[in-house]
């Protein structure tokens, strides 16, 4: 039904006083579209969705593993270049862990996601299955912890590259969700993760090729 016809009918049946249509302009140069009052109110919201919460809770665990890996590097690695890189990675990921905790706490949310493996007929998690994209499985972490010297450096770099790639995949998956990452703080954070970890992947690949 066209706007004019609707207005006419409303007038004939003594409907509510006319209010003008609500416009939502497009990009510069484009024509506007008409929206309802409910849509207008919805456009003002910038909350978060379930996917955002899961992302933050999972990324917390993801980052925690990176920090764990760097801990091993301190005592088991040999290349000073790798160690320096590891320090930088740990520093930035620790800062991000704080940020994620604050984001969750500030919204009254749990810092730890409910564990999907608990209650699964009670059997222990598969030691070969990674928990999140790119994360080292418990078996792989054990292998890393047993290595040392140049061998450790190699495993560390390979593992961390995969780990970072996993983080990028998590961000991509989040952005594919409808209405996700509207929250400005979370969207800023997600793009920092992408930018920093992409750069670190390139650096690690270069170091790995020279080992």
């Amino acid at each position: 039904m066209s706007l004019t016809l609707a207005a006419l009918i409303a007038g004939l049946v003594g409907g509510a006083p006319q209010t003008p249509p609500i416009f939502n302009p497009g990009a510069p140069g484009a024509a506007p579209r008409v929206i309802s009052a409910d849509e207008a109110v919805a456009l003002s919201r910038s909350g978060h969705v379930e996917a955002d919460v899961r992302f933050m809770q999972h990324m917390l665990l993801h980052h925690a593993q990176a920090v764990e890996m760097v801990e091993l590097l301190k005592s088991r690695g040999s290349s000073p270049v790798v160690k320096r890189l590891g320090e930088r990675i740990a520093q930035s990921q620790e800062a991000e862990i704080e940020l994620m905790k604050e984001w969750l706490l500030g919204r009254g949310l749990a810092v730890a996601a409910p564990d999907p493996h608990v209650g699964h007929r009670g059997h222990a998690p598969d030691p070969d299955a990674p928990i999140m994209p790119g994360m080292l499985s418990p078996a792989e972490m054990a292998e890393l912890a047993a290595a040392e010297g140049a061998e450790f450096d190699r495993l560390f770099l390979q593992g961390m590259i995969r780990h970072h790639q996993g983080a990028l995949d998590m961000v991509e998956a989040l952005l594919a969700e409808p209405d996700a990452a509207e929250d400005p703080m979370l969207s800023d954070f997600a793009s920092s993760v992408t930018a920093d970890q992409s750069a670190e992947i390139l650096r690690m690949q270069s170091i790995l090729s020279e080992l």
Partner: protein, 624 residues
């Protein structure tokens, strides 16, 4: 609504103070009007039915928020300290499995807040964090909504020029296409932060025609006409938020000037709008208006922090919050975070700072308004950022108040403070906010919003003794806790006061005569009309010769006992005959002489009134 940055450098502070002709606006005991309490201090709460108090005003209309621009849940309640603790405790409990997670908040702070206003062509434009609305106020009846535009991005400061509407956008979620999806990431090609330009020539099809991107977005903006070319309009953009990444906008860089002299901090944006092709509007200059005049140091003004023990914490000056221009006198007054400044805008593309003011009681210099003659500036201090209760009985009355300054030999001199004289509840956000002049000749009157402190009109004709002459206030929007509401702006537009209310819509008020303001003074003010009014672009009011103008001056002189009784009687009799259509030119000329014969010891305000009245009679004496 503001940014605090807390670099403390006492050596730098001292040097700024010594370098700047800074005068503390500390006045003698008893000269600053005390903050007491009156009926406004204990009004009953309510969203639609709060108690009201009004003095020397009548409330003509209260207009509800436009459809699509209201949700009770969107009214922002800042978490209290206790609530932060409780949130942490709850999160721990959730982790331990003993509690359910709290539902996420649906709205960001102030998502549907009404904000600043402008008037054009009989329509009142009310900005909102979610877009803007326009109301036809040209008739005698209630304002009528004629246009609603949704385009999120906050804060929605609006101005009009002809068929163009300019809007300030600063939030990261702002998008070029006015969408709701937000703009995620540090670098996003869809993001928009800056000044939007809309074509509103056809109310049935408003169009966004340009979006000028800026490094820190746009918090407020000010139109500056070109001195000679009517096809060019300048916009001064004041931005207070974070600098964008250079990958998103190549002209933007961060950092303090010591590490990065190309920083986007420490300037304003000058945007040039070719009115024949407004889609080509672009930034033409980003002048370093805070630079030290001698050394050229870019960060030349207040570095942030407290001056002295127990003093107010004054924000760092690396941006302006709002600039008011007065093109006819070639000056602009900038309220720039840690300082108030005066700019020479005779070359609008290259504004230059000619004076600056610092005061240890000012927390955040927020707005500036010139008086009509351009020899005073009233600055406001937004201590608490607008979301905090700062008009409590225990709050110092020189904090979160107006600082009244005079301009002497091109230099700003602080004279006094004025604060809302009635204390407000601890659950009412309240601090000095936006307003403009009421065009009564012979007096400096300003109507102003104080958030939930309501609307107040003050007389600052005597810069050392400002006083309130009228008010309107409601009780808190919520009876249990502080929720951000109240009047964002209160402006005099074409005979009425329009006051935008963050959560409740807007109010239309009319002046009522009192001992402080006569019917003739009101009549003169109500007769001053303009097609377009953007409050931060001041124009000199023009009062056509009319019996009410003469009566207004006579009423003022009677109030101050500034005119001899016999002369007053003769002048009033003359004016009565003038009203009846009979002008005795000889008598007019004679009155002109006696009125203008000002005694040497007359106060400046009275001298000015007598001079103006004398000139008015003089013109009548020469009429053919």
């Amino acid at each position: 609504m503001n940014i605090r940055s807390l670099l403390l450098s006492s050596a730098a502070a001292a040097s700024v103070l010594l370098g700047a002709a800074a005068v503390q606006a500390q006045t003698a005991e008893g000269q600053v009007p005390p903050v007491g309490s009156d009926v406004r201090s204990t009004l009953s709460p309510g969203l639609h039915d709060a108690g009201q108090a009004i003095s020397n005003l009548t409330l003509e209309h209260s207009v509800q928020p436009a459809p699509g621009f209201f949700d009770r849940e969107a009214i922002f309640a800042p978490p209290t300290q206790e609530e932060w603790e409780a949130m942490r405790a709850r999160a721990a409990a959730v982790e331990a499995g003993t509690a359910e997670p709290a539902p996420p908040p649906r709205y960001s702070a102030l998502a549907l807040a009404n904000s600043d206003m402008a008037m054009s062509n009989g329509k009142l434009f009310v900005g909102n964090f979610n877009g803007f609305n326009a109301y036809d106020v040209s008739g005698d009846g209630a304002p009528e909504l004629v246009l609603s535009v949704v385009c999120p991005g906050g804060q929605g400061d609006v101005s009009i020029h002809g068929d163009l509407l300019f809007m300030s956008v600063e939030q990261n979620r702002g998008r070029l296409d006015c969408g709701a999806m937000g703009a995620d990431g540090d670098v996003n090609a869809e993001r928009f932060r800056g000044i939007r330009i809309f074509d509103i020539s056809d109310l049935s099809a408003p169009r966004q025609i340009a979006a000028v991107q800026t490094c820190r977005g746009s918090h407020t903006h000010t139109q500056v006409p070109h001195p000679t070319d009517p096809d060019v309009l300048y916009i001064y953009n004041s931005a207070t938020s974070s600098v964008r990444k250079s990958d998103e906008l190549s002209i933007c860089q961060e950092g303090e000037p010591g590490e990065n002299p190309e920083t986007a901090l420490y300037s304003i944006d000058v945007i040039k709008v070719p009115l024949n092709a407004p889609e080509q509007a672009a930034i033409v200059n980003r002048p370093r208006i805070f630079a030290d005049r001698e050394t050229g140091e870019i960060a030349g003004l207040w570095k942030g922090g407290r001056f002295g023990v127990g003093g107010q914490n004054t924000a760092q000056t690396n941006h302006c919050h709002d600039i008011t221009v007065y093109p006819e006198i070639g000056l602009a007054a900038g309220a720039c975070s840690g300082n108030g400044i005066l700019l020479d805008i005779s070359d609008p593309e290259n504004p230059s700072r000619i004076s600056e003011l610092f005061d240890p009681d000012m927390s955040y210099w927020h707005s500036a308004t010139f008086n009509a003659t351009g020899d005073k500036v009233l600055f406001t201090d937004e201590w608490g950022g607008g979301t905090a209760a700062r008009c409590r009985a225990e709050d110092p009355h020189t904090w979160g108040a107006n600082l009244i300054a005079t301009i002497e030999d091109g230099k700003l001199e602080g004279q006094s403070f004025f604060k809302l004289p009635a204390s407000q509840a601890a659950i009412e956000n309240c601090v000095a906010h936006n307003g403009n002049l009421i065009p009564v000749p012979g007096r400096d009157l300003m109507v102003q919003a104080w958030y939930q402190g309501g609307v107040s009109i003050l007389d600052f004709t005597d810069p050392a003794r400002p006083m309130e002459i009228a008010y309107f206030d409601r009780g808190p929007v919520d009876g249990d806790r502080l929720k951000v509401a109240g009047h964002w702006s209160a402006y005099w537009f074409n005979g009425r006061i329009y006051a935008s209310e963050i959560a409740r819509g807007f109010d239309v008020l009319r002046l009522a005569p009192s001992e402080q303001l006569s019917a003739a003074e009101i009549a003169v003010a109500e007769r001053v009309m303009a097609e377009t009014i953007n409050p931060q672009t001041q124009t000199r009011p023009v009062w056509e010769d009319h019996p009410d103008v003469a009566t207004a001056y006579l009423d003022q002189l009677a109030r101050s006992q500034g005119l001899e009784a016999a002369v007053t009687e003769q002048a009033r009799a003359f004016v009565e005959r003038w009203r009846a259509g009979r002008i005795d030119r000889a008598r007019a000329a004679e009155l002109s002489r006696t009125v203008a014969a000002v005694p040497d010891n007359a106060p400046a305000a009275d001298a000015a009134r007598r001079k103006a009245l004398g000139e008015l009679f003089g013109r009548l004496g020469q009429r053919r």
